[in-house]
Symmetry: C2
Subunit: 209 residues, 2 copies
DNA sequence: GGACTGATAGTAATCGATCACTATCTTTTG
DNA sequence: CAAAAGATAGTGATCGATTACTATCAGTCC
Protein backbone atom coordinates (compact mmCIF):
# COMPACT_ATOMS: atom_id res chain seq x y z
CA UNK A 1 0.00 0.00 0.00
CA UNK A 2 1.41 3.32 -1.08
CA UNK A 3 1.18 6.46 1.05
CA UNK A 4 -2.38 7.34 0.21
CA UNK A 5 -2.90 6.64 -3.43
CA UNK A 6 -5.98 8.60 -4.35
CA UNK A 7 -8.96 6.78 -5.66
CA UNK A 8 -10.43 7.92 -8.92
CA UNK A 9 -13.15 10.45 -8.30
CA UNK A 10 -15.72 11.37 -10.88
CA UNK A 11 -15.21 14.64 -12.70
CA UNK A 12 -17.98 16.32 -10.78
CA UNK A 13 -16.71 15.15 -7.43
CA UNK A 14 -13.19 16.20 -8.29
CA UNK A 15 -14.31 19.68 -9.24
CA UNK A 16 -16.13 20.03 -5.96
CA UNK A 17 -13.14 18.85 -3.97
CA UNK A 18 -10.98 21.31 -5.87
CA UNK A 19 -13.18 24.24 -4.92
CA UNK A 20 -13.07 23.22 -1.28
CA UNK A 21 -9.31 22.90 -1.41
CA UNK A 22 -8.95 26.40 -2.82
CA UNK A 23 -11.22 27.94 -0.18
CA UNK A 24 -9.34 26.11 2.51
CA UNK A 25 -6.01 27.35 1.20
CA UNK A 26 -7.31 30.88 0.80
CA UNK A 27 -8.12 30.90 4.49
CA UNK A 28 -4.46 30.70 5.30
CA UNK A 29 -2.53 32.38 2.50
CA UNK A 30 -2.86 35.18 0.02
CA UNK A 31 -5.18 33.97 -2.76
CA UNK A 32 -2.92 35.37 -5.42
CA UNK A 33 -0.13 33.13 -4.27
CA UNK A 34 -2.19 29.96 -4.52
CA UNK A 35 -0.64 28.03 -7.36
CA UNK A 36 -2.14 25.13 -9.20
CA UNK A 37 0.63 23.00 -7.72
CA UNK A 38 -0.38 24.05 -4.21
CA UNK A 39 -4.00 23.25 -4.91
CA UNK A 40 -3.10 19.84 -6.28
CA UNK A 41 -0.81 19.05 -3.38
CA UNK A 42 -3.47 20.03 -0.87
CA UNK A 43 -5.87 17.51 -2.35
CA UNK A 44 -3.34 14.74 -2.96
CA UNK A 45 -3.24 15.08 -6.68
CA UNK A 46 -0.70 15.97 -9.30
CA UNK A 47 -0.72 19.43 -10.74
CA UNK A 48 -1.38 18.36 -14.30
CA UNK A 49 -4.49 16.41 -13.34
CA UNK A 50 -6.30 19.62 -12.44
CA UNK A 51 -6.42 20.65 -16.07
CA UNK A 52 -8.42 17.57 -16.91
CA UNK A 53 -11.33 19.10 -15.01
CA UNK A 54 -10.77 22.79 -15.61
CA UNK A 55 -9.68 24.35 -18.92
CA UNK A 56 -7.42 26.81 -17.09
CA UNK A 57 -6.79 28.39 -13.73
CA UNK A 58 -9.28 31.16 -14.33
CA UNK A 59 -12.01 28.55 -14.58
CA UNK A 60 -11.06 27.23 -11.16
CA UNK A 61 -11.43 30.65 -9.64
CA UNK A 62 -14.74 31.18 -11.34
CA UNK A 63 -16.00 27.91 -9.90
CA UNK A 64 -14.87 28.97 -6.45
CA UNK A 65 -16.65 32.29 -6.73
CA UNK A 66 -19.82 30.57 -7.84
CA UNK A 67 -19.63 28.33 -4.81
CA UNK A 68 -19.11 31.27 -2.45
CA UNK A 69 -21.88 33.36 -3.99
CA UNK A 70 -24.41 30.54 -3.86
CA UNK A 71 -23.58 29.51 -0.32
CA UNK A 72 -23.50 33.01 1.09
CA UNK A 73 -26.72 34.12 -0.51
CA UNK A 74 -28.48 30.97 0.62
CA UNK A 75 -27.32 31.54 4.16
CA UNK A 76 -28.44 35.14 4.20
CA UNK A 77 -31.86 34.32 2.84
CA UNK A 78 -32.28 31.54 5.34
CA UNK A 79 -31.43 33.91 8.17
CA UNK A 80 -33.92 36.46 6.90
CA UNK A 81 -36.64 33.89 6.33
CA UNK A 82 -39.81 34.42 8.30
CA UNK A 83 -38.68 37.66 9.88
CA UNK A 84 -41.18 40.46 9.71
CA UNK A 85 -39.30 43.52 10.94
CA UNK A 86 -36.99 45.09 8.34
CA UNK A 87 -34.63 46.25 11.06
CA UNK A 88 -34.58 42.79 12.57
CA UNK A 89 -33.93 41.34 9.14
CA UNK A 90 -31.00 43.69 8.65
CA UNK A 91 -29.48 42.54 11.89
CA UNK A 92 -30.09 38.88 11.04
CA UNK A 93 -28.40 39.31 7.67
CA UNK A 94 -25.55 41.19 9.28
CA UNK A 95 -24.87 38.44 11.77
CA UNK A 96 -25.42 35.66 9.26
CA UNK A 97 -22.90 37.26 6.95
CA UNK A 98 -20.39 37.49 9.74
CA UNK A 99 -21.05 33.87 10.65
CA UNK A 100 -20.43 32.78 7.09
CA UNK A 101 -17.14 34.61 7.01
CA UNK A 102 -16.14 32.97 10.26
CA UNK A 103 -16.83 29.53 8.83
CA UNK A 104 -15.05 30.30 5.58
CA UNK A 105 -12.27 32.84 6.11
CA UNK A 106 -11.00 32.09 2.63
CA UNK A 107 -14.15 33.44 1.05
CA UNK A 108 -13.65 37.15 1.84
CA UNK A 109 -9.96 36.77 1.05
CA UNK A 110 -10.88 35.56 -2.40
CA UNK A 111 -13.45 38.31 -2.84
CA UNK A 112 -11.14 41.12 -1.79
CA UNK A 113 -8.25 39.76 -3.75
CA UNK A 114 -10.27 39.19 -6.87
CA UNK A 115 -12.17 42.46 -6.81
CA UNK A 116 -9.05 44.45 -6.15
CA UNK A 117 -7.36 43.40 -9.34
CA UNK A 118 -7.53 45.65 -12.37
CA UNK A 119 -8.29 43.08 -15.02
CA UNK A 120 -11.94 42.18 -15.39
CA UNK A 121 -11.99 38.43 -15.09
CA UNK A 122 -15.17 36.34 -15.26
CA UNK A 123 -14.74 35.67 -11.55
CA UNK A 124 -14.64 39.39 -10.90
CA UNK A 125 -17.75 39.96 -12.95
CA UNK A 126 -19.59 37.39 -10.89
CA UNK A 127 -18.40 38.87 -7.60
CA UNK A 128 -19.46 42.32 -8.71
CA UNK A 129 -22.90 41.07 -9.69
CA UNK A 130 -23.35 39.43 -6.31
CA UNK A 131 -22.36 42.63 -4.55
CA UNK A 132 -24.89 44.61 -6.57
CA UNK A 133 -27.64 42.18 -5.74
CA UNK A 134 -26.67 42.41 -2.11
CA UNK A 135 -26.73 46.19 -2.12
CA UNK A 136 -30.16 46.26 -3.70
CA UNK A 137 -31.48 43.87 -1.08
CA UNK A 138 -30.18 46.04 1.76
CA UNK A 139 -31.58 49.13 0.14
CA UNK A 140 -35.03 47.57 -0.07
CA UNK A 141 -34.89 46.61 3.58
CA UNK A 142 -33.96 50.14 4.58
CA UNK A 143 -36.78 51.61 2.57
CA UNK A 144 -39.16 49.11 4.12
CA UNK A 145 -37.87 50.06 7.54
CA UNK A 146 -38.63 53.68 6.80
CA UNK A 147 -42.16 52.86 5.74
CA UNK A 148 -42.67 50.98 8.98
CA UNK A 149 -41.35 53.83 11.03
CA UNK A 150 -38.55 51.72 12.41
CA UNK A 151 -35.98 53.88 10.67
CA UNK A 152 -35.76 57.66 10.53
CA UNK A 153 -37.73 59.13 7.67
CA UNK A 154 -34.92 61.55 6.91
CA UNK A 155 -32.35 58.75 6.77
CA UNK A 156 -30.00 58.81 3.80
CA UNK A 157 -30.87 55.35 2.46
CA UNK A 158 -27.99 55.15 0.06
CA UNK A 159 -25.45 56.11 2.66
CA UNK A 160 -27.02 53.72 5.15
CA UNK A 161 -26.74 50.84 2.69
CA UNK A 162 -23.15 51.77 1.92
CA UNK A 163 -22.36 51.88 5.60
CA UNK A 164 -24.05 48.54 6.21
CA UNK A 165 -21.91 46.73 3.69
CA UNK A 166 -18.87 48.82 4.47
CA UNK A 167 -19.15 47.95 8.13
CA UNK A 168 -19.08 44.24 7.37
CA UNK A 169 -16.17 44.68 4.99
CA UNK A 170 -14.30 46.72 7.52
CA UNK A 171 -14.89 44.24 10.31
CA UNK A 172 -13.79 41.36 8.15
CA UNK A 173 -10.74 43.23 6.96
CA UNK A 174 -9.66 43.90 10.52
CA UNK A 175 -10.09 40.26 11.40
CA UNK A 176 -8.04 39.28 8.38
CA UNK A 177 -5.33 41.66 9.44
CA UNK A 178 -5.37 40.41 13.00
CA UNK A 179 -5.49 36.87 11.66
CA UNK A 180 -8.24 36.08 14.15
CA UNK A 181 -11.66 35.36 12.75
CA UNK A 182 -13.21 34.97 16.18
CA UNK A 183 -12.75 38.72 16.49
CA UNK A 184 -15.35 39.54 13.89
CA UNK A 185 -17.96 37.33 15.55
CA UNK A 186 -17.25 38.84 18.91
CA UNK A 187 -17.40 42.44 17.71
CA UNK A 188 -20.26 42.15 15.25
CA UNK A 189 -23.21 42.51 17.67
CA UNK A 190 -21.59 45.40 19.51
CA UNK A 191 -20.75 47.20 16.30
CA UNK A 192 -24.19 46.63 14.85
CA UNK A 193 -25.71 48.14 17.98
CA UNK A 194 -23.99 51.42 17.18
CA UNK A 195 -25.03 51.21 13.55
CA UNK A 196 -28.61 50.59 14.59
CA UNK A 197 -28.66 53.67 16.75
CA UNK A 198 -27.46 55.62 13.76
CA UNK A 199 -30.44 54.67 11.62
CA UNK A 200 -33.41 54.03 13.90
CA UNK A 201 -36.14 56.57 14.32
CA UNK A 202 -36.35 56.72 18.07
CA UNK A 203 -33.23 55.87 20.06
CA UNK A 204 -34.09 54.46 23.41
CA UNK A 205 -36.99 52.25 22.47
CA UNK A 206 -35.59 49.82 19.95
CA UNK A 207 -34.55 47.13 22.37
CA UNK A 208 -33.31 44.15 20.49
CA UNK A 209 -33.65 40.43 20.15
CA UNK B 1 17.24 61.32 -29.94
CA UNK B 2 16.76 58.22 -27.90
CA UNK B 3 13.41 57.56 -26.24
CA UNK B 4 14.14 59.49 -23.08
CA UNK B 5 17.66 58.83 -21.91
CA UNK B 6 17.42 59.23 -18.17
CA UNK B 7 19.72 61.62 -16.44
CA UNK B 8 21.69 60.35 -13.52
CA UNK B 9 19.77 60.97 -10.36
CA UNK B 10 21.37 60.75 -6.97
CA UNK B 11 20.71 57.61 -4.99
CA UNK B 12 18.36 59.41 -2.65
CA UNK B 13 16.41 61.00 -5.47
CA UNK B 14 16.18 57.70 -7.27
CA UNK B 15 14.82 55.96 -4.21
CA UNK B 16 12.18 58.61 -3.81
CA UNK B 17 11.15 58.40 -7.43
CA UNK B 18 10.93 54.64 -7.07
CA UNK B 19 8.54 54.88 -4.16
CA UNK B 20 6.33 57.25 -6.10
CA UNK B 21 6.36 54.96 -9.09
CA UNK B 22 5.23 52.02 -6.98
CA UNK B 23 2.39 53.96 -5.39
CA UNK B 24 1.31 55.19 -8.77
CA UNK B 25 1.31 51.68 -10.16
CA UNK B 26 -0.51 50.32 -7.13
CA UNK B 27 -3.31 52.74 -7.87
CA UNK B 28 -4.08 50.91 -11.06
CA UNK B 29 -3.12 47.28 -10.60
CA UNK B 30 -2.92 44.62 -7.95
CA UNK B 31 0.14 45.35 -5.80
CA UNK B 32 1.15 41.71 -5.79
CA UNK B 33 1.46 41.76 -9.54
CA UNK B 34 3.79 44.75 -9.59
CA UNK B 35 7.09 43.38 -10.78
CA UNK B 36 10.44 45.06 -10.54
CA UNK B 37 10.42 45.24 -14.32
CA UNK B 38 7.12 47.10 -14.26
CA UNK B 39 8.43 49.54 -11.67
CA UNK B 40 11.54 50.21 -13.70
CA UNK B 41 9.62 50.68 -16.92
CA UNK B 42 7.24 53.12 -15.25
CA UNK B 43 10.12 55.34 -14.23
CA UNK B 44 12.12 54.99 -17.44
CA UNK B 45 14.81 52.81 -16.01
CA UNK B 46 16.10 49.32 -16.58
CA UNK B 47 15.07 46.61 -14.19
CA UNK B 48 18.56 45.77 -13.03
CA UNK B 49 19.31 49.36 -12.05
CA UNK B 50 16.74 49.18 -9.27
CA UNK B 51 18.86 46.77 -7.32
CA UNK B 52 21.61 49.32 -7.13
CA UNK B 53 19.44 51.38 -4.82
CA UNK B 54 17.55 48.65 -2.99
CA UNK B 55 19.04 45.36 -1.76
CA UNK B 56 15.92 43.46 -2.78
CA UNK B 57 12.27 43.87 -3.61
CA UNK B 58 11.17 43.62 0.00
CA UNK B 59 13.21 46.72 0.77
CA UNK B 60 11.32 48.61 -1.92
CA UNK B 61 8.01 47.68 -0.34
CA UNK B 62 9.22 48.63 3.08
CA UNK B 63 10.27 52.04 1.78
CA UNK B 64 6.85 52.49 0.23
CA UNK B 65 5.09 51.60 3.46
CA UNK B 66 7.26 54.03 5.36
CA UNK B 67 6.32 56.74 2.93
CA UNK B 68 2.62 55.97 3.23
CA UNK B 69 2.68 55.77 7.01
CA UNK B 70 4.54 59.04 7.41
CA UNK B 71 2.40 60.93 4.93
CA UNK B 72 -0.91 59.66 6.22
CA UNK B 73 -0.16 60.28 9.86
CA UNK B 74 1.11 63.77 9.12
CA UNK B 75 -2.06 64.55 7.22
CA UNK B 76 -4.30 63.27 9.98
CA UNK B 77 -2.48 65.21 12.66
CA UNK B 78 -2.58 68.34 10.56
CA UNK B 79 -6.34 67.97 10.14
CA UNK B 80 -6.79 67.46 13.87
CA UNK B 81 -4.53 70.35 14.79
CA UNK B 82 -6.15 73.13 16.77
CA UNK B 83 -9.51 71.41 17.04
CA UNK B 84 -11.00 71.35 20.48
CA UNK B 85 -14.02 69.10 20.21
CA UNK B 86 -13.18 65.37 20.24
CA UNK B 87 -16.17 64.63 18.03
CA UNK B 88 -15.13 67.32 15.62
CA UNK B 89 -11.63 65.90 15.61
CA UNK B 90 -12.96 62.47 14.81
CA UNK B 91 -14.81 63.85 11.83
CA UNK B 92 -11.80 65.83 10.69
CA UNK B 93 -9.62 62.73 10.87
CA UNK B 94 -12.24 60.71 9.09
CA UNK B 95 -12.44 63.12 6.18
CA UNK B 96 -8.71 63.70 6.08
CA UNK B 97 -8.13 59.98 5.84
CA UNK B 98 -10.60 59.71 3.01
CA UNK B 99 -8.95 62.63 1.28
CA UNK B 100 -5.58 60.97 1.54
CA UNK B 101 -6.92 57.81 0.01
CA UNK B 102 -8.44 59.79 -2.81
CA UNK B 103 -5.12 61.42 -3.56
CA UNK B 104 -3.22 58.13 -3.33
CA UNK B 105 -5.45 55.21 -4.30
CA UNK B 106 -2.43 52.99 -4.39
CA UNK B 107 -1.83 53.41 -0.67
CA UNK B 108 -4.81 51.41 0.62
CA UNK B 109 -4.25 48.85 -2.11
CA UNK B 110 -0.76 48.31 -0.78
CA UNK B 111 -1.98 48.20 2.81
CA UNK B 112 -4.72 45.70 2.15
CA UNK B 113 -2.59 43.56 -0.07
CA UNK B 114 0.32 43.55 2.32
CA UNK B 115 -1.68 42.95 5.48
CA UNK B 116 -3.64 40.18 3.86
CA UNK B 117 -0.62 38.03 3.22
CA UNK B 118 0.27 35.28 5.62
CA UNK B 119 3.99 35.82 5.82
CA UNK B 120 5.12 38.48 8.27
CA UNK B 121 7.28 40.78 6.20
CA UNK B 122 8.96 43.90 7.57
CA UNK B 123 6.50 45.95 5.56
CA UNK B 124 3.64 44.12 7.20
CA UNK B 125 5.06 44.74 10.64
CA UNK B 126 5.23 48.44 9.93
CA UNK B 127 1.68 48.54 8.60
CA UNK B 128 0.41 46.71 11.65
CA UNK B 129 2.19 49.11 13.98
CA UNK B 130 0.68 52.08 12.22
CA UNK B 131 -2.78 50.58 12.51
CA UNK B 132 -2.32 50.03 16.22
CA UNK B 133 -1.21 53.57 16.73
CA UNK B 134 -4.20 54.75 14.78
CA UNK B 135 -6.60 52.65 16.83
CA UNK B 136 -5.18 53.99 20.07
CA UNK B 137 -5.58 57.55 18.84
CA UNK B 138 -9.23 56.99 17.95
CA UNK B 139 -9.88 55.32 21.26
CA UNK B 140 -8.47 58.28 23.14
CA UNK B 141 -10.66 60.66 21.18
CA UNK B 142 -13.74 58.61 21.96
CA UNK B 143 -12.95 58.55 25.64
CA UNK B 144 -12.36 62.28 25.57
CA UNK B 145 -15.68 62.74 23.83
CA UNK B 146 -17.38 60.82 26.59
CA UNK B 147 -15.79 62.97 29.25
CA UNK B 148 -17.02 66.05 27.47
CA UNK B 149 -20.50 64.70 27.21
CA UNK B 150 -20.42 64.81 23.42
CA UNK B 151 -20.66 61.05 23.25
CA UNK B 152 -22.98 58.74 25.12
CA UNK B 153 -21.59 57.65 28.46
CA UNK B 154 -22.79 54.11 27.86
CA UNK B 155 -21.09 53.94 24.48
CA UNK B 156 -19.01 50.84 23.81
CA UNK B 157 -15.72 52.60 23.16
CA UNK B 158 -13.95 49.59 21.73
CA UNK B 159 -16.75 48.83 19.32
CA UNK B 160 -16.99 52.47 18.35
CA UNK B 161 -13.29 52.60 17.51
CA UNK B 162 -13.56 49.39 15.56
CA UNK B 163 -16.49 50.77 13.64
CA UNK B 164 -14.70 54.03 12.95
CA UNK B 165 -11.77 52.34 11.30
CA UNK B 166 -13.92 49.64 9.78
CA UNK B 167 -16.13 52.24 8.18
CA UNK B 168 -13.20 53.85 6.45
CA UNK B 169 -11.84 50.51 5.34
CA UNK B 170 -15.23 49.49 4.05
CA UNK B 171 -15.74 52.72 2.16
CA UNK B 172 -12.32 52.49 0.61
CA UNK B 173 -12.83 48.86 -0.29
CA UNK B 174 -16.06 49.68 -2.08
CA UNK B 175 -14.37 52.45 -4.00
CA UNK B 176 -11.58 50.11 -4.97
CA UNK B 177 -14.11 47.59 -6.18
CA UNK B 178 -16.02 50.18 -8.14
CA UNK B 179 -12.72 51.55 -9.42
CA UNK B 180 -13.93 55.03 -8.65
CA UNK B 181 -12.18 56.89 -5.89
CA UNK B 182 -14.44 59.91 -6.19
CA UNK B 183 -17.11 57.69 -4.68
CA UNK B 184 -15.45 57.55 -1.30
CA UNK B 185 -15.13 61.31 -1.07
CA UNK B 186 -18.71 61.78 -2.07
CA UNK B 187 -20.08 59.24 0.40
CA UNK B 188 -17.81 59.94 3.34
CA UNK B 189 -19.67 62.90 4.90
CA UNK B 190 -23.04 61.22 4.51
CA UNK B 191 -21.80 57.99 6.00
CA UNK B 192 -20.09 59.74 8.86
CA UNK B 193 -23.33 61.52 9.68
CA UNK B 194 -24.95 58.17 10.38
CA UNK B 195 -21.97 57.04 12.40
CA UNK B 196 -22.10 60.23 14.45
CA UNK B 197 -25.72 59.69 15.31
CA UNK B 198 -24.77 56.25 16.52
CA UNK B 199 -22.31 57.56 19.07
CA UNK B 200 -23.43 61.01 20.17
CA UNK B 201 -25.19 61.58 23.44
CA UNK B 202 -28.14 63.60 22.24
CA UNK B 203 -29.32 63.06 18.68
CA UNK B 204 -30.97 66.11 17.25
CA UNK B 205 -28.65 68.80 18.48
CA UNK B 206 -25.18 68.12 17.17
CA UNK B 207 -25.75 69.19 13.59
CA UNK B 208 -22.76 70.78 11.96
CA UNK B 209 -20.66 71.10 8.84
C1' DG C 1 40.00 60.46 -12.68
C1' DG C 2 37.46 57.96 -9.66
C1' DA C 3 33.16 56.81 -7.59
C1' DC C 4 28.60 56.41 -8.71
C1' DT C 5 24.64 55.33 -12.00
C1' DG C 6 22.66 52.88 -15.79
C1' DA C 7 22.45 49.38 -19.80
C1' DT C 8 23.03 44.76 -21.42
C1' DA C 9 22.83 40.15 -20.83
C1' DG C 10 22.25 36.21 -18.22
C1' DT C 11 21.02 33.06 -14.07
C1' DA C 12 18.09 29.76 -11.34
C1' DA C 13 13.57 29.20 -9.76
C1' DT C 14 8.75 29.00 -10.41
C1' DC C 15 4.58 29.70 -12.84
C1' DG C 16 0.50 27.78 -15.81
C1' DA C 17 -0.19 24.55 -19.20
C1' DT C 18 0.51 20.32 -22.37
C1' DC C 19 1.43 15.69 -23.47
C1' DA C 20 2.13 10.59 -23.81
C1' DC C 21 1.44 7.13 -20.90
C1' DT C 22 -0.63 4.32 -17.06
C1' DA C 23 -4.14 3.11 -13.62
C1' DT C 24 -8.80 2.62 -12.60
C1' DC C 25 -13.59 2.29 -13.43
C1' DT C 26 -17.68 1.04 -16.46
C1' DT C 27 -19.84 -1.28 -20.09
C1' DT C 28 -20.31 -4.75 -23.43
C1' DT C 29 -20.25 -9.45 -24.80
C1' DG C 30 -19.84 -14.54 -25.41
C1' DC D 1 -21.14 -13.99 -14.84
C1' DA D 2 -16.53 -13.27 -15.85
C1' DA D 3 -13.22 -11.33 -19.24
C1' DA D 4 -12.21 -8.28 -22.81
C1' DA D 5 -12.99 -3.52 -24.62
C1' DG D 6 -13.77 1.17 -24.15
C1' DA D 7 -13.90 5.33 -21.43
C1' DT D 8 -12.39 8.14 -17.88
C1' DA D 9 -9.05 9.82 -14.23
C1' DG D 10 -4.25 10.44 -12.68
C1' DT D 11 0.90 10.48 -13.36
C1' DG D 12 5.20 12.45 -14.42
C1' DA D 13 7.99 14.81 -17.39
C1' DT D 14 8.49 18.91 -19.76
C1' DC D 15 7.64 23.32 -22.26
C1' DG D 16 7.66 28.40 -22.79
C1' DA D 17 7.01 32.45 -20.21
C1' DT D 18 8.00 35.23 -16.30
C1' DT D 19 9.95 36.10 -11.83
C1' DA D 20 13.60 38.31 -8.63
C1' DC D 21 18.21 38.89 -8.81
C1' DT D 22 23.30 39.33 -10.57
C1' DA D 23 27.66 39.96 -13.29
C1' DT D 24 29.92 42.72 -16.54
C1' DC D 25 30.68 46.74 -19.11
C1' DA D 26 29.83 51.67 -20.43
C1' DG D 27 28.43 56.32 -19.50
C1' DT D 28 28.00 60.46 -16.20
C1' DC D 29 29.12 63.86 -12.88
C1' DC D 30 31.75 66.24 -9.19
Amino acid sequence: MNSGRTKNLSAEERRHVTVEAVIDLAGRTNPDSITTAAIAKHMNLTQGALFRHFPNKEAIWLAVMEWVAARLMARLEKAADGLDSPLGTLEAIFLAHVGFVFDHPGAPRMMFGELQGARTTPAKRLARAMLERYTARVNDLIDAGKDRGELRADLDSEAAATLFIGTIQGLVMQSLIANDMALVVQDAPRVFAIYRRGIISNPGQGAQT
